[in-house]
């Protein structure tokens, strides 16, 4: 096997973006007749790497070899010519056209011939789909099959699938896997991007784990344990943060008199086909504690965040479902919740936490308008500027002053600005999503330190993060969110990353894996 040259070989691939090195010296070999997993957390660089292979973006340095020949892929057409096909998370099909019409847009041949080919491929690889059906009438799984068939019709040698199962209901996943195995046996190599460990163990022959843009290791997923995979994916490094008087605060976290946030049996079904429904969420955040929510992305974090922040109001829920600082807030909007003493730092800084093409002063107004910034509805420019200047100085935001556009700041500085803006509201309850995402290590440590200092002053803090090490560093308690369900509360000091990892995946194959039951649950509080 190893004697023949690899189908695709990446050598020292590096791709930099202004704020981050997305791929750092990546080496990777993909062989024919194999399903190769690319595994990693959100932001680990998986998608960037796949876009490089498919010719959507160009690398800054490094080489790409195809069957031993060096190639440069300027655009997807070049990649397709070599026999590389890619299926994205969001499909590119015209809903009003039929299957065969969609395919004939990119593949030469008469409709009749193509229809026959679609049927043949469907039979051969169990990718059955009716060529004359309109795309809008197809299920998500069938649309995915159309995308795969379209790749197969152009002499496919390598198929890239970007998180293919994230859009599928569980019953369609095994059918997809069956088809992928048949494809592999017919000689096609498959690059399978995922962060779902169980799937990868089930399906893949090799796995390359990315972490922070680097290759953390390559492993045979069938032989490795879930813990090994999780460890590779999450890593261990912990930067030094002074946790201060943790012991004192964790004792009062047990009492419920200081509850600042309570979610009581909240169930919300998502009407977005790519969304996650929340099931029976129970969550409490008390004053003087930091509660973390761990989990791989796409398990309901976004939905939960929007529900707590008030950006998404579910008016059909009972009034007492969501309580904040002693008051039911289920029917209150984002601004009204903020007026109660709640502050929120969303994960998307540009476009959600701040308007990129507006000045910092104007962005300050977004969440501070009820703090005397208005007089008869007119904006008090002087007061706004003083508040903004104070925020810039106090939180060490490196920028061109209060009139600088939010979009001109680096990710870390903008995050400092947004956190500063929210903290200057003197909230009693603070909710931060992905506090240090894309933030350089120095700023990240500063942000974490500030969160801990705040906790020690009695503020209740909720953090959603996909970086487990961060949660271990700052939180007192952790919940794990998985398929829209929240685990029991776990005391951070009493659990290990591996326990959390088990919770991250345990519900995915609900109950079918007996080996999950021996850890985790014992630590539940």
């Amino acid at each position: 096997m190893t004697a023949s040259p690899a189908l695709l070989s990446l050598r020292n691939i590096t791709k930099r973006y202004p704020a981050v090195v997305a791929n750092d010296n990546i080496c990777l070999e993909v062989h024919a007749n194999s399903i190769h997993a690319v595994l990693g957390e959100n932001g680990a660089g998986k998608s960037t790497l796949m876009k490089l292979v498919y010719g959507l973006i160009e690398s800054d340095s490094g080489e790409l070899y195809w069957q031993g020949q060096r190639v440069e892929l300027r655009n997807p057409a070049a990649a397709r010519k070599l026999g590389i096909g890619m299926v994205f998370q969001h499909f590119s099909l015209f809903e009003t056209l039929s299957v065969v019409e969609n395919i004939s847009l990119t593949i030469a041949g008469s409709r009749q011939v193509l229809s026959q080919k679609i049927i043949d491929i469907g039979e051969r690889f169990q990718l059955k789909v009716n060529p004359d059906a309109s795309v809008h009438s197809l299920s998500v799984g069938e649309r995915q099959r159309v995308e795969i068939i379209r790749c197969l019709l152009q002499d496919l040698k390598l198929l890239i699938l970007d998180e293919p199962t994230s859009v599928l209901p569980p019953q369609h996943i095994s059918a997809l896997f069956e088809a992928l195995r048949k494809l592999r046996d017919s000689g096609v190599a498959i690059l399978f991007i995922s962060h779902k460990l169980e799937e990868i163990r089930d399906l893949c022959d090799t796995a390359t784990v990315l972490r922070g843009g680097k290759v953390a290791g390559s492993i045979n997923p069938a032989r490795a344990s879930t813990q090994e995979l999780a460890t590779l994916m999450i890593g261990h490094e912990v930067a030094g943060v002074n946790t201060g008087s943790n012991a004192q605060t964790s004792s009062n976290s047990q009492s419920s008199d200081h509850a600042l946030l309570q979610l009581n049996a909240v169930t919300v079904s998502s009407d977005d086909p790519f969304g996650t429904s929340l099931h029976d969420i129970n969550l409490q955040v008390n004053s003087g504690e930091i509660v973390g929510i761990a989990g791989v992305s796409g398990n309901g974090q976004k939905e939960l965040s929007r529900l707590i922040s008030g950006e998404q109001m579910e008016k059909h829920l009972p009034a007492e479902s969501i309580k904040m600082i002693g008051q039911p807030v289920t029917r209150l909007g984002a601004a009204e919740r903020r007026a109660l003493g709640f502050a929120f730092v969303p994960e998307e800084r540009l476009g959600r936490g701040a308007v990129p093409v507006m000045s910092l002063a104007k962005n300050t107004l977004l969440t501070t308008f009820y703090q005397g910034m208005l007089s008869q509805g007119f904006i008090r420019g002087g007061k706004l500027k003083r508040y903004t200047d104070e925020c810039i100085e106090k939180f060490d935001v490196r920028c061109g002053g209060a009139q600088a556009m939010a979009g001109s700041l680096s990710g870390g500085n903008l995050q400092k600005f947004i956190i500063g803006r929210e903290l200057m509201l003197s909230p009693r309850l603070l909710f931060v999503a992905q506090p240090t995402w894309g933030v350089d290590i120095g700023a990240a440590t500063a942000i974490r330190q500030r969160l801990i200092d705040l906790r020690n002053t009695g503020i209740g803090i909720l953090i959603v993060s996909e970086e487990l090490e961060e949660l271990f560093e700052v939180t007192d308690r952790i919940h794990v969110i998985n398929s829209g369900r929240l685990s029991p509360s776990l005391t951070t000091a009493e659990v290990t990353p591996n326990d959390i990892g088990e919770y991250m995946i345990s519900h995915n194959q609900r109950g079918s894996h007996g080996d999950n039951s021996n850890t985790g649950d014992g630590h539940a509080v």
Binding site: R70, V71, A78, A335, P346, F378, I379, M405
Partner: protein, 364 residues
């Protein structure tokens, strides 16, 4: 040498100011070419378009007569466009405003009350707002696309206008022409100077412009609309209501268009007739964009388009051009503006050629 478009790190302010000028320049060049093809004298046609409107006092007042409604409607539309509420139906809102205002002199033919004009102003504004409110309600209640709804409502308004003019409101002494009675003097704005059609209603767009400037630049309400247009998620995050933005945008446009319609029937036309809008509702869209959706820019854009329309009238006679020539020029303006607007967010760069001697996947 090949070129490619590269996204700018942030929108260029310089290009934002330059694009309207560039669009005007390109339109002039293209229409000159068209004139050449048509065998029309380019120089004298351009002269009638751009110079003739200023050659006598009467034409200058006519320019300002067109300037008023264009300015009024464009200012309101721009507010909505900045909030990404696409009201294309100012034309229909203007018609309903004109109809509502006309109801007063039509039903009180003999009245000489001083309340006639104020009542017409109030009804004109209310009529335009009610027509826009239908679109706002359908948008917020059923998420019906406001572009289609406002456009279709314009057709309905037009049919309503025709019905009234051919039926109940037709002037019995009017030789069967589809128009109402001529309104009494008390129902008309008084002319600014004797012998011209320009009247006191010109004060409305000017006051409205100042109000819109204050609202958009200094008021929290305008800020909320702009945030909603620039970053809808940030507006949700801040707790600004997207539905309210739709209502404010559409009602404001209905208000302005209704007043514009009222100013026409109570001004230069002096009665309700089929061509009551002169297409102001559509031209105002061009004005709003040509003015870069900025209250100050729109003042200049409205003036420019008004000159163009008067100039077009002159050219009809002097160069024997069809009326569609004016429409073609306006259309060119908008297309060139939208095309050059790309340069605000993108810049043209020569395509980078790979220097390495490697084999390529595809020699394109």
């Amino acid at each position: 040498m090949q070129f490619k478009l590269d996204r700018r790190e942030r929108a260029s302010r310089r290009m934002l100011l330059l694009t309207p000028l560039l669009a005007v320049l390109l339109s002039v060049i293209t229409s000159s070419l068209l004139l050449l093809i048509l065998n029309k004298p380019v120089g004298s046609t351009l002269h009638s378009f751009f110079i003739a409107p200023f050659e006598n006092f009467y034409s200058i007042t006519e320019v300002f007569l067109k300037f008023g409604p264009l300015l009024l409607i464009a200012q309101a539309l721009a507010v909505g466009f900045r909030a990404k509420v696409w009201n294309i139906g100012a034309e229909g809102q203007m018609i309903i405003g004109a109809i509502a205002a006309s109801s007063v002199p039509v039903y009180f033919v003999d009245s000489t009350s001083g309340w006639l004009l104020p009542a017409m102003i109030a009804l004109g504004a209310a009529g335009g707002m009610s027509w826009a409110a239908i679109a706002a309600w359908l948008k917020t209640r059923f998420n019906a696309n406001e572009i289609l709804v406002t456009l279709m409502l314009t057709s309905i308004a037009l049919q309503l206008l025709y019905y009234l003019l051919l039926g109940p409101w037709k002037d019995p002494m009017g030789f069967n022409f589809p128009q109402t009675v001529m309104f009494q003097n008390e129902a008309l704005f008084s002319p600014l100077f004797s012998g011209v059609r320009l009247n006191t209603s010109i004060i409305i767009p000017i006051i409205f412009t100042v109000a819109v400037w204050l609202f958009m630049e200094r008021h929290f309400g305008g800020f909320k609309l702009v945030v909603g247009g620039l970053a809808p998620q940030a507006a949700t995050y801040a707790g600004f209501s997207a539905k309210k933005a739709v209502w404010v945008s559409l009602l404001l446009a209905g208000f302005a268009a209704g007043l514009a319609g009222m100013s026409e029937v109570a001004g230069p036309i002096g009665q309700l007739q089929r061509s009551v809008t002169s297409g102001y509702g559509y031209s105002a869209i061009i004005v709003a964009y040509l003015g870069a959706l900025n209250p100050v820019g729109i003042v200049f854009a409205a003036f420019f388009v008004a000159v163009l329309q008067i100039g077009g009238d002159v050219a009809l006679v002097s160069a024997n051009l069809p009326i569609s020539a004016v429409h073609v020029f306006q259309g060119l303006l908008l297309i060139f503006y939208l095309a050059t607007y790309t340069l605000v967010n993108y810049q043209i760069r020569p395509l980078r050629h790979a220097s390495s001697s490697t084999t390529e996947g595809q020699p394109t």
